[in-house]
């Protein structure tokens, strides 16, 4: 693996490897009640790829995403985003690290109700003290099909439209990695398809790296590859997945683990 070392700023150009996790562990609780959510996860994701992370409930997929995205601190191990190591620090330091490197799309959209579509989209730029380019904002929102809804509030939009605002917001800072946590979990199939297509476009057209946690084999089939997780460990990888192949693999995931594979 190429170690890019300490880069001064992400503007010096993207690292070839967008995300790297080395032996990341995370345990919740202490004593008898302790639950190991992530048990030595090691993986590397190349720039410009779309990866789905799958596994049964409690397999540690959300923990993996939270540790990789700097939302939670792992107990041990190394997380590197765009060649820069994510070191433990105050929340303010982690926030500054995430700005410009990481974008989020959640099942619950997490748009601010008090802001309009356009204001929600530019919020990360405002908070980072970066220049807001109105033309570019409009361009991005038009690209996700909301060019005519700039002044609407989230409550006036459908679930699919809200999720597209969230994608626009994740794109506007031009982050190296976009993390999506069950982005289609609350959507009907048509809106889900639109959202997944947009995420794929973010990779193909804008060269972003997308990591998506999902439990839906159809959603996973939009990705370039699927990582399977079971009991906090990586339990396999599938390239160029189809929905059927993913479902098949998922159904037998438990077998592999009990067999100790």
């Amino acid at each position: 693996m190429v170690r890019s070392g300490a880069r001064g700023d992400h503007d010096t150009g993207p690292a070839p490897e967008a995300l790297r996790l080395v032996k990341v562990t995370k345990t919740y609780g202490t004593g008898d009640g302790a639950v190991t959510a992530l048990d030595g996860g090691t993986l590397g994701l190349a720039r410009g790829t779309f990866t789905a992370v799958m596994g049964p409930s409690g397999s540690g997929k959300s923990t993996l995403l939270q540790c990789a995205a700097g939302l939670d601190r792992p107990d041990s191990g190394i997380v590197r985003v765009d060649g820069r190591e994510l070191t433990g620090g105050s929340e303010a330091e982690l926030t500054r690290f995430r700005r410009g490197r990481i974008g989020f799309v959640f099942q619950q959209y997490n748009l601010l109700e008090t802001l309009t579509v356009a204001q929600n989209t530019v919020l990360p730029l405002k908070l980072a003290g970066r220049r807001v380019d109105r033309g570019r904002t409009r361009e991005i929102l038009t690209a996700v099909g909301l060019g005519d809804r700039l002044g609407h509030r989230p409550e006036q939009l459908s679930g699919g439209q809200r999720q597209r605002v969230a994608i626009a917001r994740a794109l506007v800072t031009e982050p190296r990695v976009i993390f999506a946590d069950e982005p289609t979990g609350a959507l009907d199939t048509r809106s889900a398809r639109e959202v997944l297509t947009l995420l794929r476009q973010a990779v193909r057209v804008h060269g972003r790296t997308v990591v998506m946690v999902t439990h839906d084999p159809v959603a996973a089939s939009y990705a370039d590859s699927v990582l399977f997780l079971a009991d906090g460990r990586l339990a396999g990888r599938l390239q160029a997945p189809t929905a059927d192949a993913v479902a098949e693999r998922l159904a037998h995931l438990g077998d592999d683990v009990t067999a100790g594979v």
Partner: protein
Amino acid sequence: MVVLAMRSVRQRPGRFLATLLSAFLGAAIVMTFHSMHDTAGQPGVDPVSSETLTTAAGVVGGYGTLLVFFAVASTLTVNVRQRAAELELLRCSGATPAQLRRMVVGEAAVVALVGAALAVLPAVLGGRLLLEVFRDSGQVARSVDHSFGVVALVSGIGITLLTAAGAAFLALRRAARGHRRRGGARAFLTYAALVAGAVAVCSTFAFSATDSALMAPPAYGSILLSVGLALMAPRLLQAVLDRLSPGGASGWLAVRNLRQRFGQLAGILMSLILFTAVSTATLTMQAVESEAVAASGLVKSVDAKNLETLNFTVVGIVVVFVCVMLVNSLYAATSYRGREFGQQRLAGATPGQVLGVVGAEGLVLTVTGLLFGTPAALAGIVPFTVVRGDAVLSEQLVGVWAAVASIGAAATLGTSLATARRVLRTPVVRAVAPAA
């Protein structure tokens, strides 16, 4: 539905703490002063003592009731709004609006009863202390003993119960109507309060300088005017906000938040306006009164001093009550914003920036509260000073106003920032997780 109400209170007592606190404090004040009616009604009380006691009970009991209503109403409005999801769930599960109303009003009644019951003992002690002050000032004969009887108990419990049920009913109706404006009733109340306030203030001139009741009309007038202005405040606040465009990200977000939430902030703004008006007006008037007594050449008698102490006690109770209400409703409103703060943090806000947003909001609220509270106070102070001291403005005003303004600002900013800091301790991921 009443069974459901009982169960929901028992399962989540924490939620009702704010309402309980306002019901408790309100009931304590009302019962303390109304126990003077009981005391006056005892056999063998001389007419002079009886009159003093009844006047005190009538005056403070009167605006005490008004304050209790606003206090309980503001906490209940926050409470009902926070439970929008739960109420929606019940609606979807087949609860009719009437059933929901019974549940929310029932809960409020249960909480008010508990609050009033808890307030009985403090009110008995408070009543004794109050009578002690009256006796020491010589306004009430030494022989009169304190009595805590039917009037105090019935009025205390009755007023708390009725205001809580009424406030819950109004809060629910407002929540159900959503954003539609309740133009007619609100406008009527606003104008009624303003007109009644103006009349009360003007009637000050009908009194002579040495009338013992001189302080009552301007004090009432100030309170009524501040209620009227408080009812208008959300709209005026919006007008102010439309002209604000601060540069930083925190200020930008704060103005947008306030602009959307101005309806929800009405309760807090109302407490702040009432606090500013009531405390500035009454404290300044008392200071002017003391000065006038001193200026009349007489050596300050023991009686006058005691009267002053009594007035300050009464005013102090009311001011502390309004201040507690302000802190109470601000705490309730801020502690509920964990999810919103989490969303800001996910969008790239550092904890410092979130605190910056809360601070900027608090600042705008404080300034608006002072902006509307001060004229209401002045409207009462000026006629009083003119009649009592032959001056338009008292020198005392500046000092009192500065003290009131700093306490109001400290309470508003301190409460919201301290609460927000506490809320921010929740990790981001848990803060935005759908409510379990």
